[in-house]
Amino acid sequence: MPEVLVPTPLRPYTGNQARLRVEGETVGQALDALVRRHPDLRSHLYGEDGALRNFVNVYVGEEDIRYRQQEDTVVAPDEEISIVPSVAGGIEALAEAPPIEFSNEEIRRYSRHLIMPEVTLGGQRKLKAANVLLVGAGGLGSPLALYLAAAGVGRVGIVDHDVVDESNLQRQVLHGTRDVGRPKLESARDRLHDVNPHIVVETHETRLTSANALELLADYDIVADGTDNFPTRYLVNDACVLLGKPNVYASIFRFDGQASVFGAPGGPCYRCLYPEPPPPGLVPSCAEGGVLGVLPGLLGTIQATETIKLILGIGEPLVGRLLLIDALGLTFRTLQLRKDPSCPVCGENPTLQELIDYEQFCGIGTVQDGRISSDIEEITVLELRAAMDRGDDVTLLDVRERHEWQICHIDGGQLLPLSELQARMHELDTSRTYYVHCKSGVRSAEAIERLQEAGFTRLKNVAGGIAAWAEQIDPTMPTY
C-alpha cells in the first residue's frame, strides 16, 4: 500500500499521524481512501466543486502529479504520496470593490478568452479589475491601447499632451486622418470606446514630470512605457521602482526594437541595463532618424502581451530578459539581464530616493546650447530670401541627405550631404560665401563647424532650415 505524507497543518485530523498507509492504485483512489478514513480532511483538500484546492499540491515521490496524469497518476505500493501546501495570500486590493460581474454582451465579447483554461472567467475578471497606465499615445501606445482595450482591461490611463500630426499617421494607428489637429487623448478616447465601450479610459493631458509622476502612477497597477525620449524613460523607470510597480518597456529606432519588463520585485530596472543616458544627439529620435511604421506595431503588441500576462499571472514575463528585434533580418534575440547590486535606484544601497531633474540628467539643454556656438553667424529665411532676390553673390549649400533633397529643396541651392562633406570639401571654394541649411538648423551648424576647421570663413547658418523656409516663404513646399 502506498504511504501518504501529511503536512503539519493537517495532522490534527489524522490523529497526529504524519504517515499513513492507504489502499489505492492511483493518487485519486489513495486520497479518497484517506479522506474516507479521516473525513475532517476533506474540506481542506477539496473545494466545493470536488476538485483539489489550487493550493494543495500532490507529489508522487519527487514529482508533482500536475506533470503526470493528475489524480489518475498510478502509484506503486512502495511509493510515497506527499501532500504539500503552497502558501498564498495577500492584500485584497480588489476585495473591497464590488464583485466583478459581466453582462451577457461582455461574455459574448470575451468568449475567445473565457474558453481558454489559462484565462477563463477568473482571468477575465482580473483583466477587468486591472489598471494600466500608458505613457504616450504614439507609435507604441497605439497598439498597446487598442489591444488592452480590446482584451477588456478595465481601466486604461493614458498620459500625453500632444496633438495629432499628419506625420504620426504612418504608425500611430490609434489616430486617423480626420483627427489631425485634435489632441491625441481625445482621438484615443473616441477610438478606444469604439473598440470596447465596457472599459474606462482615463486621460491625463499633461507632460509627465518629476513633480507629477509619483502621484499619477500611484493610481495604477502596471505602467507601460511608450515614450520616445530618454528623460521621460528614466523618469518612468525611477518612479516605477520607487512605487514598486512593473514597467513594461519597449523602444524603437529605424528597424530595431527592444522590450523588457523592468521594476518587477527582484528583477532589474532600466538603470541596471543603462546606468547613464547616451550623450545628447548620439542616439537620434524617430523624428530625426525615422522609424519603419510597422515597427512600433510589433513592439507595442509585445508590450500589450506582457501586460496581459502580468495581469493574468501566466507564463514567463520578460523580467530579467531583454528582447532585441531586428526587423530587417527578422531576428529575435533575448539577452539575460541581471539586477545591478550597485544600481542607484533599485540596488542594495539606493542613493536615489526621490525623482530628479531628468532633462539635466540627460544633458538636454546644455550641450545643445553649446553646440550652436556663438561664432556661427545665422541668417533668417527672410534675410536669405532678400539676399537671393537681390542676386547677392552667395551659394546656398544644402547639407541634407539626397533622399531628403528629393522630397523638397530650395531652387538655386547646391546639394552636399553632411555624410559626404569631408570627402567632397575640395569642391567648395574658400573664397566664396556659403549660406548653409539643413532641415532645421542643427546639421548645418555641424557642417559649418567642420568647414571652419578646414579654413572656410564666409559662412552663415540658415536658422530653422528648410522647415522655416516652407513655413515662412513657400507654403506650397511639402514638409516632412
Binding site: 474540506s43 506527499s82 503552497s86 502558501v87 495577500g90 492584500i91 514598486g244 499571472g313
Partner: protein, 159 residues
Amino acid sequence: MKIQLENGVLQQVQAHAESGYPAEVCGFLLGSLDLEKREIRVEGGRPATNERVDAAHRRYLIEPAEYRTAEREATDAGTQIVGIYHSHPDAPAEPSTFDLTHAWPNQVYIIVSVNHGAAGDLKGWVLTHDRQSFNQVKISDYDARRSPARVEGATCLRF
C-alpha cells in the same frame, strides 16, 4: 488556540517586512504545536521567497518545493512549520478574503502592516475549522517599539 512566541521572533518578522517593502514578504514560523493544550509555540522565523513577481506588492506565494525543503529541515531540527508570516504593505494587518481562501488550518498567520516602509501593526490569526473565517489570536508580550536603526534603513524607499 494560544500562541507563545520566543523573544526576537516578532522583531525578525518586522525587519524582514521592512527590508522587503514595497513588496510583500513572507516566511515560515517554526516551533511546536500542542493540540491537547491547544497551544502553538513559535520559536523562530524562516524567510521564504515570494514567487509572485507579477504582483508582489499585494500578493505572496510560497512554492510547494520551498515548503517541502522547509518542512524537511524543520523535521531534522526537531521542529515543525507552525505558521506563516507575511506583510501587508500600506494596508492593515487584517486577513483578506484572498488570505482566507488560501489558508491552512492549525497554523498561526502573523500579518504585519508596513506603512511607508516602517513596520506597524502586527496581528495573529488562526483559520476556523469550517474555513469560513479567521479568529484573531493574542500574540503575547508584543512590544511595538523597534530599534531606531531599522527604521533608518527602511526609509530608503520612502518618498
